[in-house]
């Protein structure tokens, strides 16, 4: 009896409120995204064939792409933070995104005629190898210095990123490298974003393993005590993260900070129980990236600013606020 009472009290509290808020906000954003664009969407009275086609071929895929990439990157960040036991890691502060780009660049150069599928495999394998290397690197860092971990990751990512830029410069592929590292959705049309459903599948797998990620986040000893195969969970997590990153880099380009900012916002109100927070993390990630895209479309209409740029500016501000308000809380 007490159990039920406790539960319902908690569900009526902040988290439930957030869910009720997130629903309409998301719906509003989706409508805004469907209605915003250079081509005129003539909706007075009836749906013309042209308008429906515009919606189905361009606006809807673009909206879905923003939602899927935002949701999956936020979840990837949550998993990485759990496994690294550090709140500041995400695909772009651990070298994952840069390694995916490196793999993609090498396969483009060496096997230019390979299919998208092969490219995808190489990019995610490279992301996985890079992230595994990062995990090995941070094991040697003192646990008392939490900021050392993302700093190491950023340095590692920058080194790999420089290699990518150098090779791209030498081989005249700079334009590609730029597209991979700056996420934007203007090129998304039907037929060019469907790989992102792979990220959607990774989200489902992440949810299935949610409890195991939380336990792994409590450390190796607790994991062993509870009978968990720690290494296996670690690898599953890294696999999910590198898949999501590779899918994002290939289709729309990397969106920095999503995996950092979103989990940290959600954690403040809902804590770290992965199974409980994952739906809200995904929802918030999708909504924020979609909002960035809509703002990017409107701010210099009819020109566009990449969603990654908008999110980068807003995300930095949010992150600084999180950082300083946490210090204030402690002090």
């Amino acid at each position: 009896m007490t159990r039920t009472r406790d539960r319902s009290k908690r569900l009526q509290g902040v988290p439930a409120g957030l869910f009720w808020l997130a629903g309409p906000v998301l719906a509003g954003l989706v409508v805004a995204s469907l209605l915003t664009g250079v081509a005129d969407l003539d909706l007075d009275g009836r749906f013309s064939g042209e308008a429906v086609e515009l919606l189905l071929v361009s606006r809807l895929p673009r909206t879905l792409a923003a939602l899927l990439s935002g949701a999956s990157l936020a979840v990837a960040g949550t998993i990485m933070q759990m496994l690294a036991r550090n709140r500041f890691v995400e695909p772009t502060t651990a070298g994952t995104a840069e390694c995916a780009a490196l793999g993609l660049l090498l396969v483009t150069l060496l096997l230019p005629s390979s299919s998208l599928f092969i490219k995808m495999i190489v990019a995610s394998a490279s992301a996985l190898a890079g992230t595994a290397l990062f995990v090995t690197l941070i094991r040697r860092l003192p646990p008392t210095q939490p900021l050392m971990i993302p700093l190491t990751g950023i340095v590692f990512g920058s080194v790999v990123g420089s290699v990518v830029m150098f090779i791209a410069y030498e081989t005249d592929l700079l334009q590609y490298a730029g597209v991979w590292m700056t996420g934007e959705f203007s090129g998304v049309v039907k037929g060019r974003y469907e790989l992102l459903w792979g990220s959607g599948a990774a989200l489902v797998i992440a949810y299935v393993f949610a409890d195991r990620f939380t336990i792994a986040g409590m450390g190796k000893d607790v994991s062993v005590s509870l009978g968990l195969n720690y290494r296996q969970v670690l690898w599953i997590g890294l696999l999910i993260v590198s898949q999501i990153t590779a899918f994002t880099v290939i289709t729309v380009g990397m969106l920095p900070f999503v995996g950092l900012v979103v989990p940290n916002i959600v954690r403040r109100t809902m804590g770290d129980n992965t199974r409980q927070v994952l739906p809200l993390v995904a929802l918030t990630g999708g909504a924020l990236v979609l909002a960035s895209d809509v703002i990017g479309r409107l701010i210099r209409y009819p020109y566009e600013i990449p969603a990654a740029t908008i999110f980068g500016v807003a995300g930095t501000a949010i992150f600084l606020w999180l950082l300083f308000s946490r210090q204030a809380q402690r002090g």
Partner: protein
């Protein structure tokens, strides 16, 4: 029954444990004592499968820790390390709930909920159940971790220096609760302890390690002698009997 059979362990070339053979019968509370560097924590880690055995065997009710699956052992043995530091922001209830994971593997049922309620009640955490563990004091967090091991509902409970962060009040309460678990539920509890007087007051058996070898084992009455403790810790220790209890006066002299 816990069978520790010819266990040796070395860190690099330095031997930490040498030919330790030990039989612990089922039921009761056993304290593992000894000076720093005696190998207590290493023996604990080997029993808890946190370290891989190099030579020898360890069995719980015939289940070999080297060959039994970790999930199966998780329903047989619950462990708590002294330096367990949970950084994840979880509520006390959720943390304790994860102790049920070996039983439900992600799908908690009514038995699990019932066990969690029992754990909250037994360790006086009901009022704190919705608080996040990073908002608790060290002692409260320690109690939550012990409660988590308790709800794992295993025959064996291994704790490595559980009194470390606790003040006198909670240290005594925790030892009483462990005693209760042994008496009421017939659990077999092994505790690594620093303070010989706590060991004498609450344990059924004391096992003493020194320089990686088994130095002495027996009831508190057998171990709590000036000769035995003096040899174990290489210092002169006076034993006094106060209100029927043997007390080692080790802190001054």
């Amino acid at each position: 029954m816990i069978e520790i059979d010819n266990v040796s362990f070395r860190h690099g070339v330095a031997p930490v444990l040498q030919d330790v053979t030990l039989l612990l019968p089922k039921g009761g509370l056993t304290a593992l004592v000894g000076p720093n560097g005696a190998g207590k924590s290493t023996l604990f880690s080997l029993m808890a499968r946190l370290l891989k055995l190099q030579s020898g065997e360890i069995r719980f009710d015939g289940m070999d820790v080297a060959t039994t699956t970790s999930m199966e052992l998780a329903r047989k043995i619950a462990i708590l390390r002294q330096d367990t530091h949970v950084t994840a922001r979880l509520t006390v209830r959720d943390l304790i709930g994860f102790g049920r994971f070996p039983h439900h593997r992600g799908r908690p049922g009514p038995d699990d909920e019932e066990m969690i309620e029992k754990g909250l009640e037994l360790f006086e955490l009901s009022g704190l159940s919705e608080r996040y563990i990073d908002e608790l004091s060290g002692g409260q967090r320690q109690r939550a971790l012990v409660a988590m091991a308790y709800v794992q509902d295993t025959d064996y409970l291994l704790l490595d220096e559980p009194l470390n962060n606790l003040d006198m009040h909670f240290a005594r309460t925790l030892m009483k609760q462990l005693r209760y678990l042994a008496d009421r539920y017939g659990k077999t509890i092994v505790v690594v302890l620093h303070d010989i007087n706590y060991a004498a007051a609450y344990a059924d058996r004391i096992v003493a390690l020194k320089d990686g070898r088994l130095s002495a084992q027996g009831t508190p009455e057998e171990i709590m002698t000036a000769d035995c403790l003096g040899a174990l810790f290489d210092m002169e220790i006076v034993i006094e009997t106060v209100r029927g209890r043997r007390i080692a006066l080790h802190h001054a002299g």
